[in-house]
């Protein structure tokens, strides 16, 4: 399945993405409704504010992939929702939204966490790394390349979380066997069942290419 959040492969500077299209279509919809309302002046309706100062929001500075983002968020916002909806880093996926599936896995100060279970405000001052921060299409992280080489996915929805967990696993105490890898990857669920290929990809990067029980 094509990732609905991934940009099209078209390299033109004005490439159209599904997300960009939907955002613009939504704004156009607001503008046309406003124009149809006689009591609303065109000057008031036309500009859509970039970052409206919504009552109840609070300022926060989050360091994500080495860049500090100064944003305003609802204090209840999870790190996951903030990454996706406010910072527009949509590589991190929302699966179950309560810490069971691992699709939202990111790194905080080098440790993997479920971003759906973190309040974004708890991470001011931390180093947050998302899938966008570990490699780009032109220069993939070895784990990303291994997932491609081993077909470590089918629909791809869990993939960024799987890769973030796998990259963290490289620095965690983990035995050499496939069973050891499976134990440490147990926080990431793949409903397509690409597990054998995911384990093979991780073992290749770790230098343990032995394929076992499967």
């Amino acid at each position: 399945m094509h990732d609905p959040d991934a940009p099209d492969s078209d390299e033109s500077p004005h490439r159209l993405t599904r997300r960009g299209f939907l955002t613009q279509a939504g704004m156009a919809g607001v503008a046309s409704v406003a124009a149809a309302m006689p009591l609303v002046g065109a000057a008031e309706a036309a500009p859509v504010p970039e970052a409206p100062d919504i009552p109840g929001t609070v300022p926060v500075a989050l360091r994500i992939n080495g860049t500090t983002h100064r944003i305003r968020i609802d204090p209840r916002a999870t790190l996951l929702d903030t990454l996706r909806e406010t910072v527009h880093l949509t590589g991190t996926k929302k699966g179950c939204d309560h810490g069971q599936c691992g699709a939202c896995t990111v790194h905080v100060n080098g440790q993997r966490v479920n971003s759906c279970l973190r309040l974004a405000l708890m991470h001011e001052g931390d180093d947050i790394t998302t899938i966008e921060g570990i490699g780009v299409p032109e220069a993939l992280h070895p784990m990303q390349a291994a997932f491609v080489a081993h077909d470590g996915y089918q629909c791809g929805y869990c993939t960024s979380g799987q890769i973030m967990s796998a990259v963290a696993l490289l620095k965690e105490p983990c035995g050499p066997s496939d069973a050891d890898v499976k134990e440490l990857m147990s926080g990431n669920i793949c409903r397509c069942g690409a597990y054998p290929n995911i384990v093979a990809a991780i073992q290749q990067v770790r230098g343990n290419t032995r394929v076992s029980e499967g």
């Binding site: 209840r76 810490g99 993997r112 309040l119 708890m122 147990s186």
Partner: protein, 270 residues
């Protein structure tokens, strides 16, 4: 995010003293790992809106051996506990329990103090603390007190912790004898326990079960039966009178009773 409350306040103290002062002055819900809290917030079952983030408090972190006790800061994560040489040396079943909580992402954030304060009867580490006769050190801005873990819970999700108090550390007195721990869940990883047992094989055996009563349960009469030379079948009979499991979405009373008996038999045969 289903919580309807729009005004949420969030304090991030730098020191324990500052945290305790904030708790003294207004009702705040302490959060550390937030791994259980956010589930409640998402499901709309948590009504709290004023939080105290205690993850920055160095005073709550760390593991040490003091005299005959293993002392664990309440804010110590499962990851730290499961890899601690001191824990593995003195209370290896606490390391086992920590390694079976959720996945690595949860273990990196969830804390021992959070497992205790959350007061779920299914908490994976709680039967270990029960057989350890652990002591909880509680502090408020005005006072400090030590509460035995086995009298901390007063009912389902009810504890003696006052709103102005924080659990600062958990002390586990050393024990002689073989330690034993089993978690029974739907699958090996990422499942809330249907049943969890911790035990120590000594002249006076210690046995505790989770998910069989409104609170983690120390099986005093079953222990006494085994210490007094009862057969394992008789002891299982006593165990059945001590536990009060329920039918819920994770399991049934009948299953929990059967497995509780089986676990006791396995422990005694080990």
């Amino acid at each position: 995010m289903k919580s309807a409350l729009s005004q949420l306040s969030f304090a991030r103290p730098r020191t324990l003293e500052e945290a305790l002062t904030l708790l003294r002055d207004e009702p705040l819900v302490p959060i550390a790992g937030a791994t259980d809290l956010y589930v409640g917030l998402n499901f709309g079952t948590l009504k709290a809106q004023r939080f105290l983030d205690i993850t920055r408090l160095e005073e709550l972190r760390g593991i040490s051996v003091t005299g005959d006790r293993l002392v664990i800061g309440a804010g110590t994560t499962y990851t730290t506990i499961m890899h601690s040489a001191s824990v593995r040396a003195h209370w290896p079943i606490l390391a086992d329990a920590a390694s079976q909580v959720g996945g690595v992402q949860i273990q990196n954030r969830g804390t021992l103090g959070g497992n205790v304060a959350n007061a779920s009867p299914a908490g994976d580490t709680l039967p270990v603390l029960a057989v350890a006769d652990a002591i909880l050190q509680l502090r408020s801005a005005q006072s400090q007190r030590a509460v035995p873990f086995n009298s901390f819970y007063t009912g389902y999700r009810q504890t003696v912790l006052r709103p102005d108090e924080l659990i600062v550390s958990i002390e586990l007195p050393m024990v002689e004898g073989k330690q034993w721990f089993r978690k029974v869940g739907t699958r090996a990883a990422q499942a809330i326990s249907k049943l969890v047992m911790a035990a120590v094989r000594t002249e006076a055996p210690r046995i505790a079960l989770g998910s069989v009563a409104p609170t983690p349960l120390r099986l005093r009469r079953t222990e006494a039966a085994l210490a007094g030379g009862s057969s394992i079948e008789d002891a299982i009979g006593v165990l059945q009178t001590e536990i009060t499991p329920i039918d819920d979405l994770r399991s049934s009373e009948a299953y929990r009773r059967a497995v509780a008996g089986n676990l006791l038999r396995r422990f005694w045969a080990s």
